[in-house]
């Protein structure tokens, strides 16, 4: 969206005291909840639909537990980054933001490894059976969300060198990507619990 001036202009009219963009993000995430909800339901319906082929047993709990831990930790880093920016510490804000990106990339790396492993060694592709199709669809869409999040974080980080989010300014841009990032984490908790653990 546009610059801070615009934001102040709109806040002037805000009926709830919330920033328009944050409210919009909440509405978007509400929609996303239904999106992932539907995907998770499809996955649960097809969880044991393997046609005798590879199924839930191919999932690597150790690796995924680790990447899950990394992703959850990244949410903490996101909180710390926002706090740092708010406290006027541009340096620590940037460092934590970079950490979030790094952890997101580690998670994605784990997923790429997992997918490759499944396709090459476990012979599970989207067309193998519906367990595979639903798994790749759900986890793939989540992965795409993480990837978009990393790109977005990178953009926000770059803008800290272009005069945005300086001490004393409105931190809406960081709050927005933070909301999104926490949501994507939360979705992963649901996926990990329902698909991997149970």
């Amino acid at each position: 969206m546009t610059a801070e001036a615009h934001g102040h202009h709109e806040e002037h009219h805000s009926s709830t005291g919330l920033d328009n963009r944050k409210l919009g993000m909440w509405a978007f995430l509400g929609s996303e909840t239904m999106f992932f909800g539907s995907l998770i339901l499809v996955m649960l319906i097809n969880k044991h639909n393997t046609l005798g082929g590879p199924g839930q047993e191919v999932l690597d709990l150790v690796l995924t537990s680790f990447t899950t831990f990394v992703l959850l930790t990244s949410s903490l880093a996101m909180v710390l980054s926002l706090a740092a920016f708010r406290n006027g510490s541009l340096l620590w804000g940037r460092i934590w933001l970079g950490m979030v990106m790094l952890m997101g990339l580690i998670f994605l790396g784990g997923q790429v490894y997992e997918f490759t492993e499944f396709v090459t060694h476990k012979h599970l592709t989207p067309s193998t059976n519906l367990f595979g199709a639903s798994f790749y669809t759900l986890v793939g869409f989540h992965g795409a969300h993480v990837a978009i999040g990393v790109l977005w974080l990178g953009t926000v980080l770059a803008y800290t060198w272009r005069g945005r989010f300086q001490p004393g300014m409105d931190m809406w841009g960081i709050e927005l990507v933070g909301l999104y990032w926490h949501f994507v984490d939360l979705v992963w908790v649901a996926i990990f619990t329902l698909i991997y653990l149970i």
Partner: protein
């Protein structure tokens, strides 16, 4: 940020005018774009319907081929739902929501423009299919596995699936925009409890859209995967289940019915009070019943699937929830009648359409109760009885309601009246034509005529009803023609209306017509449900509404900051639709579309703030 003078359209040249429309972020101009586009698609969908009616006028006719007929009913349904009625409602959201809540624009003006352009390009994209190898032909709810490559190897279904995805993006973005606008941009004093009923219904509709559309998005994603990467989500041979598609579709599809009807209900809830000079009766109950309809509307979807064989327990549960919806719907109608009771009712054409909406929607609601009972449904499901029912709801309800809105707010859009006499002719012809078309279809269904048949035998006893229906549909067509001529003529030659021609009660009638770019010279302060009435009548409330004074407005143009025009929305929309073309025509388009998308995204973010 620029001043008003900088954004004023340079109408001296054609190119300047066109450019000003292409780059506009003004909600009122976007409303006009939505209105014109959706009426064009309405005409297209209507022509498709007329072709079908001509084919069915007589038994074993040969007006169109069986193949063409399947395309016609698929595209008629898809066009009317997604390209005509939803965007026509969006035109009203755009025009009215900011004006009614006392705002200068929507929360995200550029996003608003983006929604429109995606809709326009998506609609064109879907209709290109007619000349690109065959239009979608599996019905507007595209039941699997008929949509699989095994049964439709051409791109017909791909046009439909990608087209709906594109339109879904447009709807969700627009809805987020209006949710934020309504929640966050109300004028001081405009509490939820004082919002005009149309704004209430707009907000509920927007919430329905953001929560209902993801289900069909997922359904379409799975369908596209089935078609493109050989998964078998809906294909029994691969372990899939065609019924899953039906669930995903109707979890969206039933709320979609309320998405189509609630805005019309909102319009009627504004018009009835205006022309009877009485506030809406039972305001809170009407608002809450709208919310109740929306909420329960998420729990009734399998009444579209009573004949699928889900078992008596599921059928019972969903019959009960379906019946339950009749209660809040009935309550709305009773409150409308109570609004008229004791009023001073003036029968201008907007009022006639609004009353027509109430009268016709009642019939659709009553036949809906019949369909809600599974044993009855088992006989008339997938027959012309259902066709009649859904048209009484969506034509008798939505179309009548939206036309009421067009006649009522036309002066607000243009500053001129539509011709009232011709408006009444339009109304009478449409009312008679509509009933002549769809009443007999109830009988056709009960007498055993399935829907979606391109022909019927002469010895089935269907002839007369079908002929009546066709005659009626031609009358509807004629009435629409009268409307178009009236509208086009009235834009230039209509009688000037002034700012408040109907003695309206809501905020939009306190400003000039057409409204200035900034809407309100001074943001009004509201302390009642009908602030304009309060000012004019001086009673009840203190009437602290600030209006844009019509006198001297030209001389002293206030310096109000409005958002800049932007061409990035149209570029981004073009990028998205080009990428979809790439999945059908040539991969190069994907690359091109993605490039446009990225460029416009960067441009969007970088756009100078003024």
């Amino acid at each position: 940020m620029a001043t008003v003078t900088a954004t004023a359209p340079d109408t001296r040249t054609f190119a300047g005018t066109a450019w000003s429309w292409i780059t506009t972020v003004d909600h009122k101009r976007i409303a006009v774009l939505y209105l014109v586009t959706s009426l064009a698609f309405f005409m297209l969908g209507g022509l498709e319907a007329l072709l079908m009616r001509l084919q069915l006028a007589t038994p074993e006719a040969d007006v169109v081929s069986a193949e063409r007929f399947t395309e016609l009913f698929t595209m008629h349904g898809t066009t009317m739902v997604f390209l005509a009625l939803m965007p026509l409602s969006a035109a009203f959201f755009n025009l009215l929501v900011p004006l009614m809540i006392g705002a200068r624009d929507v929360a995200f003006p550029r996003l608003n423009a983006l929604s429109y352009w995606i809709y326009l390009f998506g609609g064109i994209f879907m209709n290109i299919s007619f000349v690109a190898g065959g239009a979608p032909n599996a019905g507007w709810f595209g039941y699997a596995p008929l949509t699989d490559t095994a049964f439709e190897a051409t791109h017909a279904i791909d046009f439909w699936a990608f087209g709906l995805q594109i339109l879904g993006v447009s709807s969700i973005l627009a809805s987020i925009n209006f949710i934020v606008t309504i929640i966050n941009m109300r004028a001081p004093g405009m509490t939820l409890n004082r919002m005009p009923m149309f704004v209430w219904m707009s907000m509920i509709t927007a919430f329905l859209i953001i929560f209902a559309f993801p289900a069909i998005t997922i359904g379409l994603v799975l369908l596209i995967f089935d078609r493109y990467i050989e998964t078998s989500f809906f294909i029994p041979e691969g372990g899939g289940d065609p019924v899953l598609w039906q669930h995903l579709f109707w979890v969206f599809g039933h709320p979609e019915v309320y998405i189509l009807i609630l805005p019309a209900m909102g319009i009627v809830s504004e018009i009835l009070p205006t022309y009877s000079r009485k506030p809406l009766f039972g305001y809170a109950v009407v608002a809450y019943s709208g919310a109740a309809i929306a909420l329960v509307g998420f729990g009734v979807w399998t009444h579209h699937m009573f004949t699928v064989g889900l078992g008596p327990i599921a059928d019972t549960a969903f019959a009960i929830s379906t019946m339950a919806i009749a209660v809040p719907t009935g309550v709305k109608i009773f409150n409308w009648i109570a609004t008229l009771y004791g009023g001073s009712i003036s029968f201008k054409s907007p009022m006639l359409f609004a009353v027509g909406m109430v009268a016709m929607f009642i019939i659709g609601g009553l036949s809906g109760v019949m369909l809600g009972s599974p044993p009855i449904d088992s006989q008339v499901q997938d027959t012309y009885f259902v066709v009649a029912h859904l048209h009484y709801v969506l034509f008798g309800g939505t179309v009548f309601g939206l036309f009421a809105g067009i006649y009522h707010w036309f002066p607000k859009f243009t500053g001129r009246f539509m011709h009232d006499g011709w408006g009444k002719v339009h109304w009478l012809l449409m009312l008679i034509g509509f009933n002549l078309t769809f009443l007999p279809q109830h009988m056709l269904g009960i007498d055993g005529m399935p829907r979606r048949v391109h022909t019927y035998a002469a010895d089935m006893g269907f002839d007369l009803w079908n002929m009546m229906s066709t005659v009626g549909s031609l009358m509807i067509g004629l009435s629409f023609l009268i409307f178009i001529i009236n509208a086009l003529r009235s834009i230039r030659h209509g009688e000037p209306s002034g700012g408040d021609p109907w003695d309206g009660g809501t905020l939009e009638w306190t400003i000039p017509s057409p409204p200035p770019v900034y809407n309100f010279a001074e943001i009004p302060v509201v302390d009642g449900r009908y602030p304009a009435w309060d000012i004019k009548r001086g009673g009840g409330h203190t009437g602290a509404v600030a209006t844009a004074p019509e006198a001297g407005a030209e001389a002293d143009e206030p310096d109000i900051h409005m958002p800049n025009p932007s061409y990035w929305p149209i570029v981004m929309a073009a990028g998205m639709v080009l990428a979809a073309c790439g999945l059908i025509f040539h991969q190069a388009f994907i690359l091109l579309g993605a490039m446009l998308f990225v460029i416009s995204l960067v441009g969007w973010i970088e756009e100078p703030a003024g």
